[in-house]
């Protein structure tokens, strides 16, 4: 499985995502490469990560400028063809801005940036990224953001819930930002596009305190080979 990790001006966690893809694939540098925001040819890539950071400085609105990049047009085509796309933090914001995922990310309830290790509960969503995880399983993943409050108007929220598009919720007492229904991550209707505010790429090495994030990166390969957790 070869991953492409998008790189915009202002991306911060693209190397961390590369690292996570490589570890998930069992090591070796050929399992992931950076994709410059001006690239449009994603051939040879089996999965895409839209990484965290502050693309374009988060100016105007988080993710609002990056969505117009040539690479994101290619990612939309890639997703429409069923390719797995993972948006983390700023990447989640970009995917929402692009309309590839439902909802929006607003400024945290307390308005401050917050960085903390937290617990997530795996949702019912049917997604290749969740193949290695069980519904209701609790995993420990750090989050760090200032605009991570998931919001959807009531009708859309109902649809997200009834379609089982919730991939992760903050565990009770762990919602750091006031997200509606404690939602930390959602998928598109097809399940192949996942966005989440917490950072699974920062939970792949033992020294960081948790390796629970690995399963998310390993999911698509497991799915492709018909494996299950």
């Amino acid at each position: 499985m070869t991953w492409g990790v998008l790189q915009f001006p202002g991306s911060c966690d693209e190397r961390d995502a590369l690292n996570a893809c490589q570890i998930a694939g069992g090591g070796g540098p050929d399992q992931a490469r950076l994709v410059w925001h001006e690239e449009t040819d994603l051939s040879g890539l089996d999965g895409i990560v839209v990484p965290g950071g502050f693309s374009y400085g988060d100016y105007l609105r988080a993710g609002a400028i990056a969505r117009f990049s040539p690479a994101m047009t290619a990612v939309a085509d890639f997703a429409a063809a069923g390719g797995p796309v993972l948006g983390i933090c700023n990447g989640f914001q970009v995917l929402c801005e692009s309309g590839l995922l439902p909802g929006a990310l607003l400024t945290n309830e307390r308005t401050r940036f917050i960085c903390r290790q937290g617990d997530l509960v795996v949702g019912e969503a049917d997604s290749p990224f969740l193949t290695g995880l069980e519904a209701d399983q609790t995993i420990s993943i750090p989050f760090k953001h200032q605009s991570g409050r998931f919001f959807a108007p009531p009708e859309l929220l109902d649809r997200i819930e009834s379609n089982n598009q919730v991939a992760f919720r903050y565990a009770p007492g762990h919602n750091p930002n006031g997200s509606v229904n404690d939602i930390a991550g959602v998928t598109n209707e097809a399940g192949n596009v996942l966005g989440l505010m917490p950072h699974p790429e920062h939970a792949v090495e033992a020294f960081s305190g948790s390796t629970d994030g690995l399963a998310i990166f390993q999911g698509p390969a497991l799915t492709a080979t018909g494996g299950a957790a």
Binding site: G10, G52, F54, G57, C115, H202, S208
Partner: protein, 747 residues
């Protein structure tokens, strides 16, 4: 503004130099060197490079005492940052720098651009920044001004570091009355570079091109170095707000990646960041270091505002800019990479062999200064130190003298300088970069994985101004030892030191004495630890009409450890034994408790460095062996506070008796519980593991065990007995005190 701005008018008038911060004597010296009076452009340039901030005219002679050499030193003082060899062809670059006065005037931008500036120093070396730390000082947290400053500074640091994708992994915050009007914001950056790809800041090669890239040049920050950084703060300082720079971390993020690609492509002869005094300083120092001359045409500088005067362009402190010397054949490649990273760039000049700094405007000379006169011509002053006879700072009582030991223990944990700073650290991204083994606030030092060299580094920053005020020599030794102790408890050995010397007005004899004694102490401690000083910064004139700050040398230290997996954490377990290790000889002098009792006075007990060093080495080896569950050094608030912090971290209490300490030392029961001083470590783990540390020439005593839900510490007739949850509530109480009136802020 009540007085005319020196920057818009007044050139050609005899007294213009005074408004720019130069003395009459210095102005005469400039005229003598030039053989004529300087014109406006030249005077503006002199006023900045001859400012305290750039010329170190009151501290340079003293700084020569610091040890700067060692087998691992790759770059020492004089470069943009220091660097030490970390093995396998890599170096760690690091430096600490102050942004005190800008933060006093505009805390958010002041702190943000402080972070931006120190990042560029490390970037300019060819390194990729991998960590930030901050050392902050504010007044007591019960005033609206402190709330305003803390809020702005913490948000500013987070804004810049988070947006850049550089983790803020550690730091310290102290609250003391003398910092009320003049807070301290010291930021330290640590970076990694391939040693053979590091660049120096020296211009070289006559005919090589000078390329300016990054943000556009505007009017922000004009005169910041001379106006803000080199004079005392006074009442009307809000009017100086326009001289505070505005930070744009997005520009710097692009600049960082651009520099990394330029260096990887071997496209640069040299690289320098633009900081205080802007182009004047960067270009002048590049030419000085390379013994060349330099021509800069201000007509070629990409501007934010079209009608800027030549002097404004030369002294602008617009942020996020870099200056490079490039061989003519590589200029096109350099400009193309800048375009790729969407950053403005232009060839603005040339390296010459004239020894002259020539300023042109569209080809016509508008200023001409000998590089030597500008960069090295500033007179260096001898200080006139005089030791004050008395304690010159205020005392206030915040705890009654008849308070019982348990109440004192809780009061110390709730003391702003001791209490948990998690609310601040959680506003910083501490994990981006995937190197952070220990996050801010988890251990005494932050640990970063360095897979490039198959090892880890530990970084710490320390400085207790109150203790330095009591005794500048001993206090500075303690700050340095504390840094080394913080490294030892994660198993790290010092490689190098950086420092930021924050003091008051050195022209005053008492401050001059503090500065001299502190530098002596730093030199002695660094020599003893064999930890060379590879860089640093001096920030003087930190005083207001209310008086000077506490003298505050902030010491930053980088060390290495072989295996990050063996780093002791802070979680002891039920049944673990607890040992007190080291020559710790507690005293209330200069302690947190003495402060709260309002009894601070001059002097600290003299403690030998050698036995402390031996204890540091013993603890380091013990931690490296992997047999220690928890290690921490005894610091603010003494043994009781150290034990309580460990209990809070794990949720499990302890029962200890300090009788062995009382038997060995001539201290009182109260000293044993709450006294401070260097050389004390609390270790916890299996009894059999701890006992291996006995009989090795370092004082060692088992003082109790981990048990229950109470923190119990006996010392003679005194007994501390508090519930862990009570202690935790006290320890976590600062956030509410700081943030209580955030909503109502109007500043």
């Amino acid at each position: 503004m009540s007085e005319p701005s020196p920057h818009r008018e007044g050139f050609g008038v005899k007294s213009a130099h005074r408004a720019l911060g130069l003395t009459d004597h210095e102005f005469e010296l400039i005229c003598e060197k030039m053989g004529r009076e300087p014109n406006g452009v030249e005077l503006a340039m002199f006023s900045l490079l001859w400012s305290e901030h750039c010329a170190y005219k009151h501290s340079k002679k003293l700084l020569g005492k610091l040890p700067t050499e060692g087998p691992r030193v790759v770059m020492g003082p004089g470069e943009n940052a220091g660097a030490v060899d970390i093995g396998n062809g890599y170096s760690i670059a690091f430096k600490v720098e102050s942004h005190n006065h800008p933060s006093a005037v505009e805390p958010f931008q002041g702190a943000a651009t402080g972070v931006g500036g120190i990042l560029r120093d490390v970037i300019a070396l060819g390194a990729r920044p991998i960590a930030l730390l901050d050392s902050l000082r504010f007044g007591e947290p019960d005033t609206e001004r402190t709330h305003y400053l803390v809020d702005g500074v913490v948000r500013g640091i987070g804004h810049y570091g988070n947006s850049m994708g550089i983790p803020t992994v550690g730091g310290e915050i102290y609250f003391e009355p003398p910092y009320e009007q003049n807070p301290l914001v010291n930021a330290m950056c640590v970076g990694i570079a391939r040693t053979d790809e590091m660049v120096r800041a020296a211009a070289a090669g006559t005919g090589n091109k000078v390329v300016l890239f990054g943000s556009l040049t505007g009017r922000d920050g004009i005169g910041g170095a001379s106006v803000l950084a080199s004079a005392e703060l006074d009442e009307g300082d809000d009017a100086k707000r326009p001289t505070v720079q505005i930070g744009d971390p997005f520009e710097e993020a692009k600049l960082l990646e651009c520099c990394q690609e330029l260096l990887a492509g071997d496209l640069l002869v040299s690289l320098q960041d633009l900081g205080a005094a802007g182009l004047t300083s960067s270009a002048g120092e590049m030419a000085s270091a390379g013994n060349t001359g330099i021509d800069i045409d201000v007509g070629l500088v990409p501007l934010r505002e079209a009608d800027m005067e030549p002097f404004e362009i030369m002294v602008s402190e617009s942020q996020e800019r870099m200056l490079a010397v490039v061989e003519p054949s590589k200029v096109d490649q350099v400009l193309a990479l800048c375009t790729k990273w969407q950053t403005a760039s232009a060839v603005i000049g040339e390296v010459t062999d004239s020894g002259t700094f020539r300023i042109l405007k569209n080809g016509e000379t508008v200023g001409e200064i000998e590089i030597d006169d500008l960069v090295d011509g500033c007179p260096l002053y001898d200080l006139e130190p005089e030791e004050p006879t008395d304690w010159t700072y205020q005392n206030r009582v915040s705890i009654e003298s008849d308070a019982g030991p348990s109440d004192i223990a809780l009061a110390l944990l709730a003391s702003p300088s001791v209490a948990s700073k998690r609310w601040a650290f959680e506003q910083y991204d501490s994990i981006v970069g995937s190197r952070t083994v220990h996050r801010a606030g988890v251990a005494d030092a932050s640990v970063l994985d360095i897979p490039e060299s198959n090892r880890a580094i530990a970084v710490a920053i320390d400085g207790n101004g109150r203790r330095v005020a009591c005794d500048p020599f001993q206090g500075t030794i303690e700050a340095t030892l504390e840094c080394a102790a913080n490294l030892a408890v994660v198993g790290a050995e010092p490689l190098g030191v950086t420092n930021c010397l924050n003091f008051g007005n050195p022209e005053k004899p008492g401050v001059a004495w503090q500065l001299g004694r502190a530098i002596d102490g730093l030199a002695e401690a660094c020599r003893a630890l064999e930890a060379p000083v590879v860089g640093g910064n001096v920030s003087l004139y930190n005083e207001t009409p209310q008086g000077p700050i506490y003298p505050t040398p902030v010491v930053g230290m980088v060390g290495e450890l072989p295996d990050p997996a063996k780093v002791a954490g802070e979680n002891w377990r039920e049944g673990d034994s607890i040992a007190l290790v080291g020559p710790f000889d507690p005293s209330l002098a200069g302690s947190e408790l003495e402060k709260q009792l309002g009894q601070l006075g001059k002097g600290l007990p003299v403690r030998e460095i050698t036995p402390v060093k031996q204890a540091i080495e013993l603890v380091r080896e013990a931690v490296r062996s992997g047999g220690i569950r928890t290690a921490t050094d005894v610091s603010d608030g003494g043994v009781t506070t150290a034990l309580a912090e460990l209990a809070i971290a794990s949720g499990t209490g302890c029962e200890t008796n300090l009788a062995p300490v009382l038997a060995r030392r001539e201290c009182s029961d109260e000293d044993a519980l709450f006294g401070e001083g260097p050389g004390g470590f609390i270790l916890a783990g299996e009894k059999s593991e701890l006992e291996k540390l006995g009989g090795q020439g370092v004082d060692f005593e088992l003082i109790g065990e981990v048990t229950g839900n109470e923190i119990i510490t006996n010392a003679g007739s005194l007994k501390v007995e508090v519930l862990v949850e009570e202690a935790e509530a006290a320890f976590d109480s600062l956030e509410d005190r700081i943030e209580s009136d955030q909503a109502g802020l109007t500043h």
